[in-house]
Symmetry: C2
Amino acid sequence: MQRLDIGQKILSENERYAQENSRLLAEKRLVCYNLISSPGSGKTSLLVRTIQALTNQVRIGVIEGDIQTDLDARRIRTTGAPAIQINTQGACHLSAVQVNGALHQLPLDQLDLVFIENVGNLVCPGAFELGEHGKIVVLSVAEGDDKPAKYPGIFAKSRAMVINKVDLLHSGAVDFSVDRAQQDACRLNPQLAIFRVSARTGEGLDPWCQWLKGQAVSVRA
Amino acid sequence: MQRLDIGQKILSENERYAQENSRLLAEKRLVCYNLISSPGSGKTSLLVRTIQALTNQVRIGVIEGDIQTDLDARRIRTTGAPAIQINTQGACHLSAVQVNGALHQLPLDQLDLVFIENVGNLVCPGAFELGEHGKIVVLSVAEGDDKPAKYPGIFAKSRAMVINKVDLLHSGAVDFSVDRAQQDACRLNPQLAIFRVSARTGEGLDPWCQWLKGQAVSVRA
């Protein structure tokens, strides 16, 4: 019983900040997506490409979550977009209070869309609401097509799935059935929007960017 | 204070079972390694190849940890090796009590080496001792060479690092500096044994298998 009580207290502190983040995003009429994936699925590369493709169309800011280093925020800033780095110092996910601090460091009045790049972890980040509009799961084809079946939680909760590194499929360098991954993910989540991209070559970026643009516009409307 | 007390109680229950596992492994003169990595680094493929390569030399049993499905245990059993599947039902790591139950289901008297394949997660599993002899971190080149710097904990704690999917390097399909990954990992852990393999093509398996054989022999000696 004692364990349950304390679990609830921690959750409710996170929820309180998540609600505050949600309120702040609504006030600023910003859309905010929480990117979740395994380490190395290519979230940062996807963001760099997306920011470049949407220059002069959607003004993007980024909150970077990592256990250590500011490598990712520095990569984002090369595009000219503002990026705030959070180091969790060992923690396996971002919390709403950390995101709250970072939101207040971003120039929110000059943005349309905020991406939160969570710590690379396909399990824990999905359990912590940050006040975002939705979660987006990124899956690299190098990870294998069995991941939706084996890690169902985040695929069930996400608004969109980005299948990344599709350039590796053409060369036959990896064994990955796009059909299997999509079918398993859609079984868990029939409303899931699915995009197939290569952040490395730029393939497939256009539908993804158009969808994001639509999301940003819908919040401004 | 209350939170600290309870944290200690949970840890000590895990530690108690970890000690019991360690005692059981010593009694049976078995070596046991805990494989930790991101989802999709190729742990199961590496095990399948390793079991095949060490047939008639080292008798291997496997404990498979996954959130859902028994896909991995079934893949291991195609080799003829015994495999016990644990489903964590959402939990992001294996616990020592789960491993204890699985050890008692394996034919320990007929084995030399037990692999525990942990839940795919580069963060949380490293914090829970299972009674194993050591941890082995697997890193796929598709994940990027910045992972030791960004997720230092598990690289600092592991006895060995297996850099997998090196076949992707030859085709230029991924950008990954083996030197950078190795240097960052060795800075964290100068004693780390490092192997470069492709579980897909079989490249580099021999030094890895010889090392494992040496580990199994040293426990029997």
